[in-house]
Structure formats: structure tokens, C-alpha cells
Amino acid sequence: MTDKKKVAILWLGSCGGCDETIVDINELILGVVNSVDLVLWPVALDFKYHHIEKMADGEIALGIINGHVRNSDHAEMAKLMRQKSQVILAFGACACFGGTPGLANLRSKEDIFRWVYQEAPTVINPKGVCPQTTTRVDGKELTLPEMFESVHSLDQVIDVDYYLPGCPPPPYLVLKAITAFLENTLPAKGSSLASHKALCDTCPRNASKPNKVAITEIKRIHEVEADPTKCFLSQGIICMGPATRSGCGESCININIPCRGCFGHIELVADSGAKFLSGLASMIDADDEAGLEKISDQVRDTIGYLYRFSLPISIMNQKKLQSDEVKSDD
């Protein structure tokens, strides 16, 4: 038996990038592994879920969960982790805010299934086969998880103690969070383990921002050769920096790509998309309604810009997971 703190790392609906960023701690991960007892990490270690089920409640000191909750399997595992863990860390934009898959909340589940299994041009499915939660094959019943109506952030399903945003969170922040956990220096429950400033505050181009940004034309980043020294907004390129939490190390800005908002909202902001829209509107320089409409039309996929990572927690979309959605709980 070991007296090391037990840590579990779980992925729900995610791309694997969050697990990859833990690996990207590189050789420092060896120190972490020496300091804790990893009891679950599906992407790297061969522990099974029933090992977790057999553990006592609260036996895991830290449960790190990445990915959003979209189906009954995700919800079941999230609840199991909550039961067995003292501290739950929502890891990455999907767990914290729903992430890019959350944009699927603009469509119904039926619409998504119809497109994916029938209507998409690359699909050939004359029999209209569509996955079912239960299927009988050779007298045996096979089951699949139930897909929910919408994508949920982790805290819409279970109680979350800490948030580490980012798509994915950068390795240095991961290490900082794990170190804080090991040294018992975690902040108050509910905190985000990233900067409290807005990205604009730490952006290397901040000094180039004019006192008043006047946008007369909105351009997409691939349509222009952006000046790598000037504020994107002053160049008419939408950058989510004013409404996004800092801490990413400005990795996108440094390769001349505007901020897309993966670190989510700043403290005390209910809906960062709506707040950014306010700011963007004040920068638009149009004298009349026609000019305003013209610039407005230049913003392609407004909702995709504003809520690229956060639609499930936005004012219009925030929905706690209803218990009746989880059929496996019955």
C-alpha cells in the first residue's frame, strides 16, 4: 500500500488534446508520477472503470476530468468520479464551458442524427441505419450510451471544485495546478486556476492599440496579411482578447492568430460572448444604419465567434442536465 495521494484522470467527450498536454509536461511528469498514485488514466494506463467503482467514496484525492458531457456514459462516469474524489478539477475548455462541441447545441439531436447518418453528401445509407441504444444480435442484447439533447459543461452535471481552462490548458499551467494541489495551496473552491486578467492586459500588442479603435471594415484572418505588431481589432480583425481570460501564454497571438476565447470568461462575467459583442459594437465606426448593417454582415458566423468554446454556458443555452436524461440511472 502506498500513502501517496490518489489521482485519477478521465476523459469524457474530448479530442485527446487535454491528455496530450499532460504528457507535454515532458520529463517533469516523472516527478508528478512519483508524487502521486495514478489510479485511472484511460489514455495512458490500463485501469478499468470497475477498479474505480470498488474504491471507497472520497478515496481519490484529485479527479481531473476533461471533455464535455454529451451522453449517458459521460454523465455516469462524471458522477462516479465525483463520488470517489475529494476534489474535482474541470480540465480544459470542454469540461469548463462545453468547448467547441458545444456549438452543436444550436441544433437538435434529431437534426444532427439525420445529417450524420442520412443527409451528409458523403453518406451512403440506403437502409437508413442509425445507432440505437439497444440492438439484438443473435439473441443477445447490445447497448450503446444514450446521446443527450445537448452538450453540457461538467458543472452542469456534477459539483466542480476548480477550473483549468484552455484548449488545451498549456503544460506550465497544468504543472502549476498539480503543484498547488500537492502543496495544499489551492485557492478558494470554485476558482479558475488561471490568470484573473483579460488577455488584452497581457497581450504583447496592447501598446499598439489606439485610444479609440474605429472599425470600418471587418476582415477575416485568412483574407489579409495581418501586421504582426499591431492590435488585431485595430486592423478590423475580430480578436476575443478583451473578453477572454489570460493565462494561455498568448500562444495564438504570437503566431499572428487572433484570440478565439478558449480560456473563457473573465471573473464575474455572465456571458462573455454578449459582453464582447458590446465591446465590438462600440468599436464599429458607421454613421448610418446602412453602413452599420454592412459591417454587421461582414461578421460571418457571429455566434461561432462569440461562443466558440462557451455556448453551453451562455445565457441562452445554459441547461443543467436533467436527471431524466440519464436513463442508466433508472
Partner: protein
């Protein structure tokens, strides 16, 4: 059976709308009325929250163009609203459900009529799908 009146949330600037009468007087005639000091104070958060809480339409009454008490708050509001239309459309909320009306009525006599006109417009659109924007089918797929 009498048709239920659509729920309209009305924000109005106190510098142009009903400043000669008491707030109680207007509130007695208008349900869901929110007096504000400038339409430039209205954030998209407030409008989205109104829709989230079940508003069928949102009417914003601001000062006449060129006559804003705070210089250009009403123009700022117009910019926000124009950008917000795109967001509402994605949620399946028609742009007619959000209207900015610039004008002045110190006694606020026309306010109930403007709300009624908004209600008529909204009634023609039919009911909103409540708080489940994900269920709306109005978004069109681009192939």
C-alpha cells in the same frame, strides 16, 4: 377564450420617455417595463436574459437620433442591437422580436400603444419555443 397577450419586455430611456409622470404611473399601464437612464446602458446580456426568461419580444425606446442626453448612447444601442440580430437568428429568434424605437414622449402616453404594436408583430410570428433554443429548426443547413 381570450388569446393570451405575448410577453413584451420594454426598456425605455427616462430622458425621453415619460419623464413628466411618475414611474408608478407608467408601471401601472405597462407590464415588464424597465426604466433606464440611457439606451447606451443596455447590454446584450440584458436582452438575452429577457429572452431567456421567456420574453416573446423586447422593445427598446430611446432618445431621438442626434438628441441623446449622453451624446450618442442611443446610437451605441443601435450598433449592439444590429450585431445581436445575427446571434438571435442563430437561436431561432426572428429579428422582429427585438426592436429599437427612437423618439420622445415626455408623458409616456404612447408607450402602451407601442408595446401593443410590438405584441401584434410578435403574435403574427407565433410563439417562441420557450427556453429550448436547441429545439428550433429555423437554422438552415449550408450544404
Amino acid at each position: 377564450m381570450k388569446e393570451k397577450e405575448p410577453k413584451i419586455v420594454c426598456f425605455s430611456c427616462r430622458f425621453s420617455w415619460g419623464y413628466l409622470v411618475s414611474e408608478e404611473d407608467i408601471a401601472a399601464r405597462l407590464e415588464n417595463w424597465i426604466p433606464i437612464i440611457c439606451t447606451g446602458k443596455i447590454d446584450p446580456v440584458h436582452i438575452l436574459t429577457a429572452f431567456r426568461q421567456g420574453a416573446e419580444g423586447v422593445l427598446i425606446l430611446g432618445c431621438p437620433e442626434g438628441d441623446c442626453h449622453y451624446q450618442d448612447g442611443n446610437i451605441e444601442a443601435r450598433k449592439r442591437i444590429t450585431l445581436l440580430y445575427n446571434v438571435l437568428q442563430s437561436y431561432g429568434i426572428e429579428r422582429e422580436r427585438l426592436k429599437l424605437h427612437l423618439g420622445a414622449d415626455p408623458e409616456g402616453k404612447t408607450m402602451p400603444q407601442l408595446v401593443k404594436e410590438m405584441a401584434d408583430t410578435v403574435r403574427k410570428l407565433g410563439p417562441r419555443s420557450g427556453d429550448t433554443p436547441t429545439q428550433k429548426k429555423s437554422a438552415t443547413r449550408t450544404k
